[in-house]
C-alpha cells in the first residue's frame, strides 16, 4: 500500500468541485442580480466556461499516488483525474453547443448553466467516490440536476413528459441501487470500497448469495444510468423529449460518470468476485448491444436514433467491463473519451441544423445536406463513421481497444457478437450519410445561424475524433497510467 496516502480532511482534493460549485453559485447570482441587463446572457456561458477551465487547470496533471481524504470516502487518483477531464471536457463542449440553442428555444435561463455545473459536480463526485455513500450522493446530485434540465422547456409537453419519465424511473432505479447498497452493507459491514474488497478477499465465502444480490441490485441502479438493456427504456423517450443540448449533455457526461462508478465499484470492491457479476454483465452487454443496434435501424428521428446508438455504445463498454482486465478498463476510459468527441460532435450538428421547437429532426430532413452545407456534412460523416468504428477515426481505435480486452480475457463469443452488432450499426449510421449525400433534398434548408461557440465545439470534436483515431498513443498512455493507481 505504498501508493496510498490518507488524510482525513483535504480541502485541496475537492478543489475542482469547489470551483465548479462556486461558479455555479456565481452564475445563479449574476443571473438573478443582473437579469435585466444581461441581454442574451452570454456572460453566463463565459462564466461557466471560465469555471470549467479553472476547474480543469486545478485538476490537471497526474498524481503518483492515490490521495484519500474525507475519512477515506473521497479519492484523487489518476483514474478520477482522467474522468474529471472527460466530464469537464464534455460539459465545456456542451456549453459551447448549447448557448445558441437555448436562445433559439427561448429557454435561456441562468439556472441552465448552474445546473449543468452542479451536475458535473455530481459526476466528479461519482468518479472520485471511494465509498458507496459518496457515489450515491454524486449520483443524485448529477441526476436531480438533469431531471430539471430535461424539463427545462416548461411549455413543451414532450419536455415535461421526458422529465417526468426520467424522474420517476430514475428514482425507481435508485431505489434498487440503494437496496443493493444496504445489502452489501449488511453483508460486509461497510460502505467503503476498499474495506468491502478486503472483507470479500478475507471472508468472502461466508456472505452467501447476499453480495451477489447486492452487486446485482447496484448493477441495476448504475445500469439504468448507463442505459443498459433492460434498464434502458427511458433513454429514447428522454433523449427525444429533452432539449437537444441537454440530450447532448446527458448522453455523454452522466454515462461516463456512471461507468466511472461502475468500474470503480465492480473492479475495486468486487474485483475478487468478478466471476459472479461478470455473468450478469455479460448478459446485459449482449442485450444492450443487440437491442440498441437493432432497434436503431428502424428509427426515423435522429435524436431517437442517437438514443439507441447511445444504448448500443453502452453495450460495447459493458463488453470491456466483462473482460474485467486492465486492458478493458483503460479501453473503457479511452472509449468514453472518444465518445465525448463523436457524440457531442453529432449533437452539435444536429443542433446547428435543427429549427425552433425541435423541427428538422427527421433523418430524411437531411437529404442533400452534403451539397448545401458540405463542411457540416463532412463533419457529420466523420462523427458517424467514428461511431460505426471505421478507421481512421477515434471510434475505431476505441472499439479495437475494447474488443482486444474481451479477446484477451477469452470472451471471444462476446467479441463476435459485438462485432456483428457493429456491422448492424454501420447500417443506420451510413443511412444518415446516404441521406445527406445520395438523396435529393425533400425541402429547403433554412438559412443557418452558426455561432462561433458551436463552430468551436465542432472543430474541437473533429480534431479530437481524428487525433484519437490517427495518433492515439499519447492518450493511450494516459489511460493506462490512469488505472495504475486505482486499486
Amino acid at each position: 500500500m505504498t501508493n496510498v496516502s490518507v488524510m482525513t480532511f483535504n480541502i485541496l482534493s475537492v478543489l475542482p468541485i469547489l470551483v465548479l460549485a462556486g461558479f455555479g453559485m456565481i452564475v445563479l447570482f449574476v443571473d438573478i442580480l443582473f437579469s435585466k441587463r444581461l441581454g442574451d446572457k452570454n456572460i453566463l456561458a463565459y462564466l461557466s466556461l471560465a469555471g470549467i477551465i479553472i476547474a480543469a487547470i486545478v485538476s490537471r496533471g497526474t498524481t503518483p499516488i492515490a490521495l484519500y481524504s474525507f475519512n477515506e470516502t473521497f479519492v484523487i487518483d489518476n483514474y478520477s483525474l482522467f474522468f474529471n477531464f472527460i466530464f469537464l471536457l464534455s460539459t465545456g463542449l456542451v456549453i459551447l453547443i448549447s448557448h445558441q440553442y437555448m436562445k433559439r428555444e427561448n429557454i435561456n435561463y441562468g439556472e441552465y448553466y448552474a445546473l449543468i455545473l452542479f451536475s458535473t459536480i455530481g459526476m466528479m463526485l461519482m468518479a472520485s467516490g471511494a465509498d458507496l455513500l459518496n457515489i450515491y450522493i454524486g449520483l443524485e446530485v448529477m441526476s436531480i440536476s438533469i431531471y430539471v434540465l430535461t424539463g427545462l422547456k416548461r411549455s413543451k409537453l414532450t419536455s415535461n413528459e421526458a422529465s417526468l419519465k426520467y424522474f420517476l424511473l430514475g428514482a425507481f432505479a435508485t431505489g434498487f441501487l440503494l437496496y443493493g447498497v444496504s445489502i452489501i452493507y449488511g453483508a460486509t459491514g461497510s460502505f467503503n470500497l476498499k474495506e468491502i474488497a478486503d472483507f470479500l478477499i478475507n471472508k468472502g465465502d461466508v456472505t452467501g448469495p447476499f453480495v451477489y444480490l447486492g452487486v446485482g441490485l447496484i448493477i441495476i441502479g448504475l445500469g439504468f444510468k448507463v442505459a443498459s438493456v433492460p434498464f434502458h427504456a427511458w433513454v429514447p423517450d428522454v433523449y427525444e423529449g429533452a432539449p437537444t443540448a441537454v440530450t447532448a449533455f446527458m448522453s455523454v457526461g452522466p454515462k461516463a460518470a456512471a461507468f466511472a462508478a461502475f468500474i470503480r465499484i465492480l473492479m475495486t470492491a468486487f474485483g475478487s468476485t468478478h466471476y459472479e457479476w461478470q455473468k450478469i454483465v455479460y448478459v446485459l452487454a449482449i442485450l444492450t448491444m443487440t437491442v440498441g443496434n437493432v432497434v436503431a435501424v428502424a428509427q426515423t428521428n435522429i435524436k431517437r436514433m442517437l438514443a439507441y446508438s447511445s444504448i448500443a455504445h453502452a453495450g460495447y463498454l459493458l463488453v470491456a467491463l466483462v473482460a474485467a482486465n486492465t486492458l478493458g478498463v483503460s479501453g473503457m476510459l479511452f472509449y468514453l473519451l472518444t465518445y465525448v468527441f463523436m457524440n457531442i460532435g453529432v449533437f452539435a450538428i444536429v443542433i446547428i441544423l435543427s429549427q425552433r421547437n425541435d423541427g428538422f429532426m427527421q433523418i430524411n430532413d437531411y437529404a442533400g445536406l452534403g451539397y448545401k452545407h458540405p463542411l457540416l456534412a463532412i463533419a457529420m460523416t466523420l462523427f458517424l463513421l467514428s461511431m460505426a468504428g471505421i478507421p481512421p477515426t477515434a471510434g475505431f481505435i476505441g472499439k479495437f481497444y475494447i474488443f482486444s480486452a474481451a479477446i484477451k480475457s477469452g470472451y471471444i463469443g462476446l467479441a463476435v457478437i459485438g462485432m456483428i452488432n457493429s456491422v448492424i450499426s454501420v447500417y443506420y449510421y451510413l443511412r444518415v450519410t446516404v441521406v445527406m449525400y445520395m438523396q435529393e433534398p425533400v425541402r429547403e434548408f433554412y438559412p443557418l445561424t452558426i455561432s462561433p461557440f458551436i463552430v468551436a465545439a465542432v472543430v474541437i470534436s473533429v480534431i479530437g475524433t481524428l487525433h484519437l483515431g490517427i495518433f492515439p498513443s499519447k492518450i493511450m498512455e494516459l489511460v493506462q497510467q490512469s488505472i495504475l493507481t486505482m486499486r
Partner: protein, 527 residues
C-alpha cells in the same frame, strides 16, 4: 536512410487531397488536372519500386518502420516483397487511368477526385502494410471513398448497391479484425512481446483448432472481398451502379485485396488449415469459375456481364493460390495483375460506350465496328485478353494456374479448364452482339470513334496486355524468390505443427487426408 519511397507513394495522394481541398469547387479543370498530375506522379515514383527491386531476396524491401501506437506495439511498418510489388504497381497504374476516365464527371468534381485519391492511398496502404493493424486500418479506410464513389456518382440503384457493398465487406472484415487481435495475443503468449508485425506472426506455431477458427475469420473477410462464390452477390450490384472509374478500381484493385490477403495471411499463418481447406476452397473456386461464366453468359447488361466474368476469373486466382505450388501462386499473382488490366479495360470500354449511348444494354448495340473501327480494335484486344488468348496477358496467368492446379489436383484443373471454354462463349457472344452484325439502332449510326483522351487511357493498358503476354518473365522473375520463400515457410511450418501437435482437431478427417505432395520441392509424382 534513403527516400521513404513507399510512404511517399502511399501518402502523396493524401497531399493531393489537401491541395484539392484548397481549390474552389467550381474550378473543375484545375481539380481534374491536379488529381491527374498527382496520381501520375505517384505512378512514376512507384516505378523505381520495380526497377530497384532486388529479386534475389525474399526479405521485405523498401522497409520503413516507425512507432505508431507503442502501448499496443503497433508500428507503422511497411515494406514490399515480390508478391505485393505488382499489386502496388497495378494500383498506382490504374488510378491515373481512372482519373482520366472520369474526365466527364461533372457532379461534385472536387469530392470525386478527393475520393479517388483517398482510395489510392488506402489501396497502396493495404499492399504495403506489414503490420496487421495497419493493414486493417487501410483495409477499412478503403471502404469509405468507394462507398461514396458508388453512392454519389453511381447509377439509379446506387444506394442499395453501395450499402450492400459496405455492409457485406464490413461484415467480413470485422471477423478478420477479431482474428488479428487474437493473433496479437497469441503472439504475446508465445513470445512475450506485444506486436502486430506480420513477420512476427509468421513465426507462430498455432494448434490446428486455433488455426481453424482464425482461418475461418480471415477467410470470411477475404472470400467476401474476392468475391468467392457464394459471397459474390454484392459485386454485380456494385459494379453495375458504380461509375466507370469506380468499377475499374473495384475490379482492378479492390478485389485483389482479397486474394492478396489469402496469400499474405491465410497461407503462411495457417498452413495446416489452409491445407485442409484445399478441397473446400478449390470447389468454391471451381463453382465460381463455372457459375460466374454461366451467369455472365445470360446477362443483358454489359457491366453485369463483366462483373460476373470477374467472379469467374477470380475463381481461377483462388484455385491457383490453393494449388500450393509455385506455378499456381505465381500464376495467381500474374492473373491478379492481368485481371486488373483486362477487366479494368473492359469496364473502361463499357464506360466509353455508355458515355456515347447512355445505355449498357447489349441489345441496344450491334454493328458498332462499322462506325467505330478503332474502338473495335481495342475492344477486341481486351476481350481476347480476358478470354485468355495465348500471346496476351490473360493466358499466362490462367495457364500457370492450371498447371499448378493440375500438379496438385488433376480433377480440379480439368473441371476448371472448362471455364476457359465458357469464357470464350460469353465474351465472344457479347462481342458479337455489340460490335458485329448490322446496325439496328439509329442512334448507333452517329457514334464517334475513339477520342484522344480515350486513346491515352487504353494504349498503356493494351501495351501491358501485350507485354505481359509476350514477356511474362518480367513479372515472374521478380516474384520468384518471394513465392518460393512463401512455400518454404508453409512447408516448414506445416511440418513443425503436425509433429508437435497431437491430432485433436475439429475436423480430423480432413486433416488426416492432407496430402504430402509437392509443397516446397517439386517432387516427382508418378501417376
Amino acid at each position: 536512410m534513403s527516400l521513404p519511397l513507399l510512404s511517399l507513394i502511399t501518402f502523396l495522394p493524401i497531399i493531393g487531397v489537401f491541395l484539392i481541398l484548397l481549390m474552389d469547387s467550381k474550378d473543375r479543370e484545375l481539380i481534374r488536372l491536379t488529381s491527374l498530375l498527382v496520381s501520375t506522379i505517384v505512378f512514376f515514383i512507384s516505378l523505381p519500386l520495380y526497377f530497384n527491386f532486388d529479386s534475389h531476396t525474399y526479405d521485405m524491401q523498401f522497409v520503413e518502420k516507425l512507432r505508431w501506437i507503442p502501448s499496443f506495439g503497433i508500428n507503422y511498418y511497411i515494406g514490399i516483397d515480390g508478391i505485393s510489388l505488382f499489386l502496388i504497381l497495378l494500383a498506382t497504374f490504374l488510378t491515373p487511368i481512372s482519373v482520366l476516365a472520369s474526365w466527364h464527371v461533372t457532379k461534385n468534381v472536387k469530392e470525386y477526385m478527393i475520393a479517388m485519391l483517398t482510395l489510392e492511398t488506402a489501396m497502396v496502404g493495404v499492399f504495403v502494410s506489414l503490420d496487421a493493424f495497419l493493414f486493417f486500418v487501410f483495409w477499412e479506410l478503403m471502404l469509405i471513398p468507394m462507398y461514396l464513389l458508388i453512392g454519389i456518382w453511381g447509377g439509379p440503384r446506387r444506394v442499395y448497391a453501395t450499402i450492400k457493398f459496405f455492409l457485406y465487406t464490413t461484415a467480413g472484415s470485422v471477423f478478420m479484425f477479431l482474428a488479428i487481435i487474437g493473433l496479437y495475443f497469441l503472439n504475446y503468449r508465445a513470445t512475450d512481446e506485444y506486436t502486430f508485425s506480420l513477420l512476427e506472426f509468421y513465426r507462430l506455431d498455432l494448434s490446428f483448432a486455433v488455426q481453424f477458427w482464425l482461418f475461418i475469420a480471415f477467410f470470411l473477410a477475404f472470400a467476401i472481398k474476392v468475391p468467392m462464390f457464394p459471397f459474390h452477390t454484392w459485386l454485380p450490384d456494385a459494379h453495375v451502379e458504380a461509375p466507370t472509374a469506380g468499377s475499374v478500381i473495384l475490379a482492378g484493385v479492390l478485389l485483389k485485396m482479397g486474394t492478396y490477403g489469402f496469400i499474405r495471411f491465410c497461407l503462411p499463418l495457417f498452413p495446416e488449415v489452409s491445407y485442409a481447406f484445399i478441397p473446400v476452397i478449390s470447389w468454391m473456386a471451381i463453382v465460381g469459375i463455372i457459375y460466374g461464366a454461366l451467369v455472365a453468359l445470360v446477362q443483358d447488361d454489359l457491366k453485369k456481364l463483366v462483373a460476373y466474368s470477374s467472379v469467374s476469373h477470380l475463381g481461377f486466382v483462388m484455385l491457383g493460390i490453393f494449388a500450393f505450388n509455385i506455378q499456381g501462386i505465381e500464376g495467381s499473382i500474374t492473373q491478379m495483375v492481368n485481371h486488373g488490366l483486362s477487366t479494368g479495360a473492359l469496364f473502361l470500354i463499357v464506360g466509353m460506350l455508355y458515355e456515347r449511348r447512355h445505355t449498357r444494354m447489349i441489345a441496344d448495340f450491334g454493328g458498332l465496328t462499322k462506325r467505330i473501327p478503332v474502338f473495335a480494335i481495342f475492344f477486341m484486344i481486351v476481350t481476347l485478353s480476358s478470354i485468355g488468348l495465348p500471346g496476351l496477358n490473360g493466358f499466362v496467368g490462367e495457364f500457370l494456374i492450371l498447371v499448378g492446379t493440375f500438379k496438385s489436383r488433376i480433377l480440379y484443373a480439368s473441371i476448371a479448364t472448362s471455364g476457359i471454354v465458357l469464357a470464350a462463349v460469353y465474351m465472344l457472344w457479347m462481342f458479337q452482339r455489340v460490335m458485329f452484325n448490322e446496325i439496328t439502332h439509329e442512334e448507333n449510326k452517329m457514334l464517334k470513334d475513339i477520342s484522344k483522351r480515350e486513346l491515352v487511357i487504353l494504349i498503356p493498358i493494351v501495351f501491358l496486355i501485350f507485354w505481359i503476354g509476350i514477356y511474362p518473365n518480367s513479372l515472374l522473375r521478380k516474384m520468384d524468390t518471394s513465392v518460393n520463400h512463401l512455400l518454404m515457410q508453409i512447408g516448414e511450418k506445416a511440418n513443425i505443427v503436425s509433429v508437435a501437435q497431437g491430432q485433436k482437431n475439429p475436423n480430423q478427417l480432413k486433416h488426416n487426408s492432407i496430402p504430402k505432395i509437392d509443397i516446397v520441392s517439386e517432387s516427382k509424382q508418378e501417376w
